[in-house]
């Protein structure tokens, strides 16, 4: 069943994030994808939105399609103007990629090419509108297309520290839904009970919510997120659990798997983010029972 179908039938969708290489060695990407084929509904391929130059998401997405795996491709506005973005979107459709997540991008000052010029010709709302326009057969200027693409476009929520920030994020999300987002991917969830509270608030958006499940690779990472992102709700108990574990890597895998299992029946799916440890995905899915 396609990702779009899963969304429309309100079935739980399992997504895994896989980055393209910084270079052209695609062996790891392809091997990691093959290992989870059949266990995920789609692979989410980020682009350079985190500011690190790498092989483009379009190529990564096509590789996944060649492996017979559905793809959700990131698009963002920092590096390309409206012509390039529309061109890429149409190219993606032709190459078999119709699922797009419009994401925030890191500021150029945080990238690995800090001297580069930022484009930001349009913003996330306008990009979502552009995708909707293309899906209706017209480009942003209203010129008719020869062959009409179709997209299932989604958006992301930025992390929040407190209720005020969350209210602002939800307002942005409402605007993104109005602009054409048909699903929303949230920041990592570490506390499923706290996520319930969020879901109540986000219900009014009227689109499927897909939380991110983040693999905690080490105690240091867990502590860092706990200290720097209070909205992530990493509890002292969770930190203690990792600290006391004789095998902290395994513990992180278990936590991610248990979080996925706990989110079943609550959210519309999960996006599992392992940031370089994609080889751990099968173990995580074993724990989660997916």
């Amino acid at each position: 069943m396609s990702f779009q179908k899963k969304l429309s039938t309100k079935e739980f969708a399992v997504l895994a994030e896989m980055h393209t290489p910084k270079g052209v060695n695609i062996a790891r990407l392809v091997n990691d994808a093959r290992r989870i084929k059949g266990r995920v509904d789609a692979i989410v391929v980020p682009d350079m939105d985190n500011g690190i130059v790498r092989m483009s998401a379009l190529a990564g997405g096509v590789l996944m399609r060649q492996e017979g795996i559905e793809t959700i491709m990131h698009m963002y506005c920092r590096d390309k103007n409206r012509l390039a973005l529309q061109g890429d979107a149409m190219a993606a459709h032709v190459l078999g990629i119709s699922n797009i997540v419009v994401t925030h991008s890191e500021d150029m000052s945080q990238s690995d090419h800090r001297e580069a010029k930022t484009v930001d010709d349009i913003d996330e709302f306008e990009l979502l509108s552009a995708l909707r326009s293309l899906s209706s057969g017209k480009d942003m200027e209203g010129f008719e297309l020869d062959g009409i693409p179709s997209f299932t476009a989604g958006c992301t929520l930025a992390p929040w520290d407190d209720e005020k920030m969350l209210a602002k994020e939800l307002e942005f999300a409402r605007k993104k839904v109005e602009a054409g987002a048909s699903f929303i991917i949230t920041p990592p969830v570490f506390d499923v009970a706290a996520f319930d509270g969020f879901l109540d608030k986000a219900k009014g958006l009227g689109v499927p919510i897909i939380p991110t499940v983040f693999l905690l690779k080490s105690l240091a990472i867990a502590q860092y997120i706990a200290n720097s992102e209070p909205g992530a709700n990493i509890s002292d108990d969770l930190i203690r659990r990792i600290r006391k574990s004789p095998d902290r890597e395994l513990e992180g895998t278990k936590i991610a798997g248990e979080t996925i299992a706990a989110l079943k029946g609550k959210a519309q799916g999960v996006k599992v983010q392992t940031l370089g440890w994609e080889h751990k995905l099968p173990e995580i899915f074993d724990v989660a029972g997916v």
Partner: protein, 222 residues
């Protein structure tokens, strides 16, 4: 100087028509020189607005004043009592002046009366042309005093492109090719060798690539 052009009257009417008393505030600096928002233009706009509003049956008390500099908090402070007596302010300064007012008078609606255009120089009477984009790392010393950032449509660092013909830019016969100008000037100065050197990709951080810029002079800052 910073150049500007006055906004269309229709747009300004939409801004001011909900109010009873407004202050039309000019600036004696750049916008005076480019005849967009100085004392004279304040007077002209006040009359124009008044007539257009009366035609629509709207009567507004339009007060007029011109500050020495709207981008300077010291001058902006001078008009506290004037601001207190009006419902809204229409600034004829550049965007810097409008924002200085908005920052100082937080509870007062401030509207721009001009569109701020660019940093430019006067070519002849009534004609101003873009000359600088404030990239923060001036390379005029290497390009014969002609800026490819502000004057080349593609901001090429190693021009000209294939669209340069007869000394003109491909975008219009009215636009000089900046790299033709650079070449001519370097040749006249006997510095042709500068032209053949490949300039590496520009570092745009100083040009706003890392967000809004600020200058802090430790010897002057309080």
């Amino acid at each position: 100087m910073i150049t500007a052009e006055r906004k269309p009257l229709e747009e300004l009417i939409e801004y001011v028509k909900p109010y009873k008393r407004i202050l039309l505030l000019g600036c004696n600096e750049c916008v005076t020189v480019c005849a967009a928002g100085g004392r004279k233009e304040v007077g002209l706009l006040a009359s124009g607005l008044q007539m257009a509003l009366l035609k629509s049956g709207i009567s507004i008390d339009i007060r007029q004043h011109t500050l020495e500099r709207q981008c300077d908090p010291e001058y902006v402070e001078e008009i506290v009592s004037m601001i207190a007596g009006v419902d809204a302010v229409v600034s004829m300064a550049c965007g810097c002046g409008v924002q200085q007012l908005a920052m100082r008078y937080k509870d007062k609606p401030i509207f721009p009366a001009v569109n701020t255009k660019f940093m430019g120089a006067s070519e002849r009477q009534g004609v101003w042309a873009e000359r600088c984009q404030g990239c923060g790392n001036c390379l005029l010393g290497e390009t014969g005093g002609i800026c490819p950032i502000a004057r080349c449509a593609k901001q090429l660092m190693n021009g000209p492109c294939g669209g340069s013909a007869g000394g003109h830019c491909e975008i219009s016969e009215d636009v000089d090719c900046a790299w033709q100008l650079i070449w001519d000037r370097l040749k006249a100065l006997g510095k042709e060798e500068s032209f053949v050197e490949i300039t590496p990709a520009k570092d745009w951080r100083s040009g706003g690539g890392s967000g809004p810029r600020k200058i802090i002079r430790e010897d002057l800052a309080e």
